[in-house]
């Protein structure tokens, strides 16, 4: 080193400050672009997983409640209890319980289960069921199911 003249020592082939700054700004631009795109995708993915979970829960509830209420011979409701042919549906600990067994998937918390009777006649029930749910993992994601089920006329009386 000692033998190299001062002028040559400082015109060596290292990067200049400008080159470094340009390189840093360009790579940070690329990094920010790719990073935000990845963050967007991950966020989207988690949101669509939540949506899928809600859809699954709603689908299960619609199938289950529709079938049992439509074809029930004996139906009774009280508050948030529905009893269809001895099968009891109620809300407990954020789940909808059918005879003691939860019928909503894990990851979905049920906030409310309201049953309103809008039947035109007391012989045939027609119930509006409102179920509010939220994601257990992302409590800000909420959804609602409003389902109407009418009891079917299964016995015909001849006059």
């Amino acid at each position: 080193m000692k033998n190299i003249p001062v002028r040559e020592r400082f015109t060596s082939n290292g990067f200049t400050l400008i080159e470094l700054l340009v390189a840093i700004s360009l790579s940070s631009m690329v990094f920010i672009l790719v990073g935000s795109f990845m963050a967007f995708l991950i966020n989207r993915n988690s949101r669509s997983e939540t949506t899928e979970l809600f859809e699954q829960a709603k689908n299960d509830l619609v199938q289950e409640m529709s079938n049992s209420i439509k074809w029930a011979k004996n139906l009774s409701i009280s508050g948030n209890h529905v009893v269809a042919d001895g099968v009891n549906y109620t809300l407990a600990d954020g789940r909808i319980i059918k005879n003691g067994q939860p019928i909503v998937p894990d990851g979905v918390t049920i906030n409310s289960f309201e049953v309103t009777d809008y039947s035109v006649t007391s012989d045939l029930y027609s119930l509006q069921i409102r179920i509010e749910m939220q994601s257990t993992q992302h409590p800000l994601s909420k959804d609602e199911l409003k389902l109407v089920v009418s009891q079917r006329l299964t016995e015909v009386q001849s006059e």
Partner: protein, 178 residues
């Protein structure tokens, strides 16, 4: 080691030059083009999941319309046929009665969940005089209108990606008390 330009030799390797600004910019432009082609695919996949949600919502609204109409028809046939002559209706809750109960209001409804239009149609049923089978279209000679049957049709329409979508469901209801 040469000192007058940014290049170097190492062992027997070929000499490498650093990238020029132009090269970096070209590389970035190429990358942007690639991203720009992938993005529409990703956004299509995302919108697809929203559309599936609309399908499910439409299904629930369709069921609601049908269950309300069925309850009215099955509860009291004579009242149903006199209160709701053939035409287009939408389901509603009659708050003038105690307890509140279902009713049908004349005309279709729109703006359901800010997207859907729903109508419940009550239409007459024409039957073949000899076989009793349902005759589609004109009720001409040899066929009669069946006053003990009605056809309930619920339809849900909505817009999705600038195109119209519609689902329908039809139920034949009959007066069993006769």
């Amino acid at each position: 080691m040469k000192r007058n330009k940014i290049s170097w030799k190492k062992g027997g390797e070929k000499s490498h030059r650093a990238f020029t600004l132009i090269e970096v910019l070209v590389a970035m432009a190429v990358m942007l083009i690639v991203v720009a082609t992938i993005l529409p695919t990703v956004s299509w996949l995302i919108s697809r999941s929203a559309y599936l949600k609309y399908d499910a919502q439409a299904g629930v609204l369709l069921q609601e319309g049908m269950e309300v109409a069925y309850n009215l028809a099955a509860a009291d046939w004579d009242n149903f046929t006199t209160s709701f002559p053939d035409g287009v209706y939408h389901p509603a809750v009659d708050v003038t009665t105690e307890p509140n109960m279902w009713t049908l209001v004349f005309g279709p409804e729109s703006g359901l969940e800010a997207r859907f239009e729903r109508q419940v149609s009550v239409s007459p049923v024409c039957r073949d005089g000899a076989t009793g089978g349902i005759v589609a279209g004109e009720c001409g000679s040899g066929s009669v209108w069946d006053s003990a049957s009605k056809l309930l049709t619920v339809s849900i329409k909505w817009q999705e990606n600038q195109s119209d979508k519609e689902i329908n469901s039809t139920l034949l209801v009959t007066d069993f008390s006769r």
